[in-house]
């Protein structure tokens, strides 16, 4: 589904991503792990075009998206969350999610006469269904700046789902969550996968990674050092080296 081929990214001589190739298959949850500074977030910023790759190519569903503009990416069906939560603080939970429909709803200048058209009713219903799935439906009218941390993380996920994505890219969705919130998240993500979506997740919480992922890729110093199923990764000496250093 998503194919990354020999991707490089240099920041003024600093090599952040050094020839990473990986492929994500439809319907799987792919975990991306690695020590801090390994280049995980840089890699997904390259995929979502927040950053320009130095060289290499990115293909999604058979289409080359390497040269696309950042705002075009979601039209292909790629939605993402951010490591440091990015929600629309002064808007309600409902409007935050509703904004996710920007790509397929009537959202040009003609939308100022939106009240004349009836398609909004179904879209509103879709928003409420997503909020119900994510467990935010009773908070739909709360302004986001009054929301708890865990709820904001969930809201970001709801906004992602509202874009009707094929691939969800989640940057540390469990960061800052307590164990019971993490359990709920694991169940929600599994449910999202089962509804036919593909997920690429960066996470430090091994409980999330080991319980959820079908395959795992390990990054270290901008290169992919290992890839495989959770059990393969757990016993891979290169992974242990990346996290703990080698014996010498």
């Amino acid at each position: 589904m998503l194919k990354i081929l020999d991707l490089h990214k240099n920041f003024r001589g600093l090599i952040a991503i050094n020839g990473v190739s990986l492929e994500i298959k439809e319907g799987e949850i792919y975990g991306l792990i690695g020590p801090n500074g390994a280049g995980k977030t840089t890699l997904i910023n390259l995929v979502t075009k927040s950053l320009e790759p130095t060289s290499g190519s990115i293909t999604f569903m058979g289409k080359d998206i390497t040269k696309e503009k950042p705002h075009e990416i979601s039209k292909f069906g790629i939605a993402r969350t951010f490591q440091n939560i990015r929600v629309f603080e002064s808007l309600t939970v409902f409007k935050n999610t509703w904004l996710g429909q920007n790509n397929f709803a009537r959202s040009g200048l003609s939308s100022i006469f939106g009240f004349l058209f009836s398609d909004e009713k179904n879209l509103n219903k879709e928003v409420m269904e997503i909020l119900k799935l994510i467990g935010l439906s009773d908070k739909s009218n709360i302004i986001v700046r009054n929301l708890s941390y865990g709820d904001r993380r969930r809201l970001e996920l709801a906004r992602c789902l509202a874009t009707r994505p094929k691939l969800l890219i989640l940057d540390e969705p469990a960061a800052g969550m307590n164990p019971s919130e993490t359990d709920i998240l694991i169940r929600e993500l599994a449910a999202i996968r089962d509804s036919g979506k593909t997920i690429l997740v960066i996470e430090h919480d091994m409980k999330v990674i080991m319980n959820l992922c079908d395959r795992i890729g390990v990054l270290n110093f901008g290169s992919k050092v290992a890839e495989g199923s959770p059990t393969e990764i757990q016993s891979n000496p290169k992974v242990i080296e990346a996290y703990l250093g080698n014996e010498e």
């Binding site: 075009e72 808007l91 920007n102 100022i112 009218n141």
Partner: protein
């Protein structure tokens, strides 16, 4: 025209100008160049009516349109900047336009009288074509436009840029296009306000359109509240009303004015009207209706 009539007209024109500032705010941009767009509209429409005999309404719209074009030309390179840097760039644009008006002479003989802008002496003898009713009409038109815009997906997409540019981009909002659009519409509105102004006051001078007017109108919006266009309306009414009602204390009124601005910013940093307040009112209204 009576004193109150003039004040009422000026409040109307400045409210239109405040709406134009609010539109730039909608995408989270800060413009200190609104005075320039105001001036471009004022000069253009006055030249059109006085020298070329263009009907007033048409002259107003052309004035707005030329302002809009200038907005796009300025907006495309400048809107890549953010915050303070953008403010300074727009300030620079404002001063540039101002310097142009301060040097520009374009006088034409109409009915044996020299008419037109004459550099630092200004543009005199403009026909008083603007009536209070006309100002009210345009004001209502722009209010309805901004009201509808604020509720539309287009308006919310603009808002999402102010709230978080990266997040807006991630859901498919074309950030550059919307920023330039909001800037252009805002320039149009300021241009129309300028045309109304020049045919209301009948004499315009380059210094009417320098950074001071930009900053004053910005203060109206900041104090009224940037989260809803009601803030722009309230801020303008409140500050002009205040400035006029304490005229009896002479020039000390500017001090009172300044103190009040500081106090409002300390206690209501999002302005007098913010979204919470707005929602409270809206909920009361809906409850009564249903």
């Amino acid at each position: 025209m009576s004193y109150l009539g003039t004040i009422a007209g000026l409040i109307g024109i400045k409210t239109i100008l405040a709406l134009s500032v609010f539109l730039v705010f909608l995408t989270g941009q800060l413009s200190l160049g609104q005075g320039a767009f105001f001036g471009i509209g004022a000069y253009t429409s006055a030249i059109l009516t006085m020298i070329y005999g263009v009907p007033f309404v048409l002259a107003l719209i052309i004035g707005g349109a030329i302002s809009l074009v200038c907005g796009i030309i300025l907006g495309i390179p400048v809107l890549r900047l953010r915050g303070l840097v953008l403010a300074i760039a727009t300030l620079g644009f404002g001063q540039m336009v101002n310097a142009f008006f301060l040097n520009w002479e374009y006088e034409v003989k109409v009915n044996n009288m020299l008419i037109g802008p004459k550099a630092g002496t200004g543009f005199r003898y403009i026909e008083p074509l603007t009536t209070q009713g006309m100002i009210l009409g345009w004001l209502l038109f722009f209010i309805i436009f901004v009201y509808l815009l604020e509720r539309s997906r287009f308006g919310y997409a603009m808002l999402s840029i102010r709230e978080n540019e990266e997040a807006a981009q991630s859901i498919g909002v074309n950030v550059t296009m919307l920023k330039v659009t909001s800037f252009a519409i805002s320039a149009f509105i300021a241009g129309v306000a300028g045309g109304l102004y020049s045919h209301f006051i009948t004499f315009i001078h380059p210094l009417d359109f320098d950074y001071r007017i930009s900053i004053i109108v910005l203060a109206y919006v900041a104090i009224g509240g940037v989260e809803s266009f009601w803030g722009a309306l309230l801020g303008t009414f409140f500050l002009i009303g205040l400035a006029e009602s304490i005229r009896f204390i002479g020039e000390y009124r500017l001090m009172v004015y300044g103190i009040l601005m500081v106090v409002v910013m300390i206690f209501r940093p999002r302005g007098l009207i913010d979204r919470e307040l707005f929602w409270k009112f809206q909920n009361i209204f809906y409850k009564h209706r249903s």
